[in-house]
Symmetry: C2
Subunit: 481 residues, 2 copies
């Protein structure tokens, strides 16, 4: 599908490449400041020698259309537009830099980018491997779905009534008794956080969370102008919360079951302390519970199951268990909160995909979902045990970790602070992608969030070996590198 | 599925209703300030006399659990929580009122709410009627979709590569030549506006638009702190734009083809003037082009088709043509813009439904979509002509309108300023829902956006009769009211 030079053309390959690049600039696809693909990438795309691309670049550079910036690549030059057409272009770079929303951290942008590449070994990806997704069964179930014309129109503000009814039943297994009117369907848990940020909190509010935290790797709250404050989860939790002087509204965010990134499970006692303290201090709690169905043993009750004060905003999802591509999650909360979040969701995207909601409703109500979970937990457990054995072989003297109780992650702790951006980039050069601890806690240079859910067993082995050899090049257990 | 009193219970029906309400309050589903359903609604749900519900309310009121507010309903009382359990609850109402995002206008909230009711005649709904959606064909096509395990994982930041490739081909028919890297898949056009608001504009930027405007009925820009300024589209457009002194960044938003709400089509000359003036003044343009495939005749070129300066952000969608439930739209823009919006989309909802994207790709690439459009335009045309005939019979002496050139809408203009909120509410009492002109232009009390796309022909006739009789009760052509 991608363009290639035509060898039958009366133009040379170099001339064709120059024209192709000029067209992108002229057409406004590549505005001033756009970074060009690398010579290597273009050579591969065009099926030509890199030197041919280099000659084309040289000519474009001489014409003032592109410019090189040391160490960061080749860009469409400032005056390219004048050169080409003597016309002016909007300065999109300026627009972007002065706009409201924070960009993702550079490391996270790189993670998003490299996750698209086939050849990369993904040691940190918080997602089920393609072979763990019930793709064929979903495909088969599509044929059984009968659509209602009303259901594929614009959604009702809270989402599909059918799905909300089914979720009421489903949530009883988690000890949560609620009504369809207290549920909002969202496009994944992250959207729920986004809606809460703009719909329930004033600017400058404080979000309390336990470090390290998933919230440092995404920033729905920070982009809405909220402050993030770490509260350590230890036996002083209640005192810590009380000591935190509240001049502004605040809210406690937590993942008490299979915490991301640590995999930690709060004992019931700790959860109760948190709930009681927050109730006393009138601090609402966001209970992010998207992993609980992946616990290898029976989970402790959800905080929401004790909630009689409308204090807990509970978030669930099937992204971690059935398919992230569905983009279906939910919030359980008091009516005024749900009405408000639904109103904002209507203003944001007019509701979630009706088809995804139909599929979710079918899977949960038919029992297909529960059956799939039983199998999935078995497979994840096997992967966890395999990975722990690899760690024992590879990192025994360099790091510590806990036996996984479920979910995707092992929070690998190195004795030395070796997990810095240089290591991350160095691994990328070796086509290995990790989730370094510093994206969850900026000062942390000792941890990696290892995921045994995504990479194949072979890739896990190879990736961990590469990691080990880059960290301790003098002490190789495997001589391939 | 909804709760009903049990007539075999040892408790009276009244006592059961009281317990049911208390449970909602105790469980925190209905926090302080929550508005209760009306007595009429509860009586219908419970299959009891309204007087039984009234007695239950009286008792709860006497206990201090609920309170009536004149003219606005019955609410969970401030001290309900103390009464019940002597505990404190978070004050969600305070949270909501002090938070960042604006609520929808009350009229629009009512529209969203009443659109869910079966018995309501919807004269303004900007959506295809269930019978115009190709529901059975979509259902059949589901069986033909073969899913790729990778495709149902988390999406790449810009959306399905397959769909973006197919859209490149599709957009050629609109005169737009672009690359997959210059396309971002979004969950409908409204999300595109939201992403542009937070991703490309600084706080306090100005959004220029032509009144009346769809932008007044949603507020992605206003909620992000932007100012909306009306620029009249007439032969002084260029002068008006130049006269608008720009201290801040600004951006021109328009729907040049089948404008919402007026149905107006900009002649090619006007579009060119806009494009050239905006280019000269370096004002980017958002071209919202979601209706063009519904034109009865061949559309004039899109502004984007002339764009050689990367000035135009082009928005397309299949919500108006195939199914709003899919939530699939797209933005075509220069690379830096697409990269930026994709980055924010990843932070917002991790991408759109993979299933919806698969269905869209299948429909567009197989030709099913084009075939469906031919039939759809015919049906819409028939509905338009039918409605215009009704208008001729009903409103000849009271209003004017133009013959529809396509899409959904007729912009009905009354001679007198009769379209106010009182009329809107009065019609609701008669189960007729309209989109009054004032939601598109606050000072406008003369217009209604009439949609011939949603209501059945019979409902259109009945609804228009009710409308006429409410506006001019003394001069009835139909004596049923």
């Amino acid at each position: 599908m991608k363009w290639k030079p035509n060898h039958q053309s009366h133009l040379t390959v170099r001339e064709q490449i120059i024209d192709w690049i000029k067209t992108h600039i002229e057409r406004g696809d590549w505005t001033v400041g756009t970074k060009l693909p690398t010579q290597r990438q273009l050579a591969a795309q065009f099926h030509v020698n890199r030197s041919t691309v280099q000659l084309a670049f040289d000519e474009l550079r001489a014409d003032g259309l592109i410019e090189s910036k040391m160490g960061s690549g080749v860009f469409v030059a400032n005056n390219s537009w004048n050169v080409l057409l003597n016309k002016s272009q909007p300065n999109w770079q300026h627009h972007i830099e002065s706009s409201l929303h924070k960009p993702n951290y550079h490391t996270i942008q790189l993670i998003n980018e490299y996750e698209q590449k086939e050849e990369v070994i993904r040691l940190g990806t918080g997602e089920l491997a393609p072979e763990l997704l019930p793709t064929r069964q979903i495909e088969q179930s599509l044929a059984q779905i009968s659509l209602d014309s009303k259901a594929i129109g614009y959604s009702s503000p809270k989402g599909s009534e059918k799905l909300r009814g089914i979720l009421c039943q489903h949530l009883k297994k988690r000890g949560i008794y609620t009504t369809p009117d207290n549920i909002l369907i969202v496009s994944g848990a992250l959207q729920a956080l986004q809606l809460i940020a703009v719909g329930l909190l004033e600017e400058g509010s404080t979000i309390l969370h336990e470090p390290p935290s998933y919230l440092n790797s995404v920033h729905p709250f920070q982009s809405a102008g909220m402050r993030i404050v770490s509260i350590s989860r230890n036996h002083h939790l209640a005192d810590n919360l009380r000591a935190h002087k509240r001049k502004r509204q605040s809210l406690f965010y937590c993942i008490p079951t299979l915490h991301n990134p640590t995999g930690y499970n709060w004992p019931a006692e700790e959860k109760k302390t948190l709930y009681n303290t927050c109730r006393e201090l009138q601090i609402p709690i966001i209970e992010d519970d998207v992993y609980h169905e992946l616990l290898f043993e029976k989970p402790a009750p959800a905080i929401k199951s004790w909630d009689t004060s409308g204090q807990v905003l509970y978030i669930g999802s099937i992204s971690k268990t059935l398919s992230p591509g569905l983009r279906v999650g939910w919030v359980v909360a008091p009516s005024p909160v749900i009405e408000r979040l639904a109103d904002i969701k209507m203003q944001t995207d007019y509701g979630s995909s009706a088809f995804s909601q139909e599929i979710a409703a079918h899977w949960i109500s038919s029992g297909l979902y529960e059956k799939h979970l039983i199998d999935l937990r078995e497979q994840l457990k096997r992967r966890a045990r395999f990975t722990e054995e690899l760690l024992e072989q590879t990192f025994r003297n360099m790091a510590t970790w806990k036996t996984s109780e479920g979910g995707f992650y092992i929070w690998l702790k190195f004795h030395q602070p070796v997990v810095n951006k240089a290591l991350f980039l160095n691994l990328l050069h070796h086509n290995v992608l990790i989730n370094p601890g510093y994206i969850y806690e900026p000062s942390d240079l000792q941890h990696i969030r290892l995921s045994y859910a995504y990479a194949s067993l072979e890739d896990l082995k190879q990736g961990l070996n590469i990691l080990r050899n880059l960290i301790q090049p003098g002490d190789r257990e495997d001589n391939r590198f």
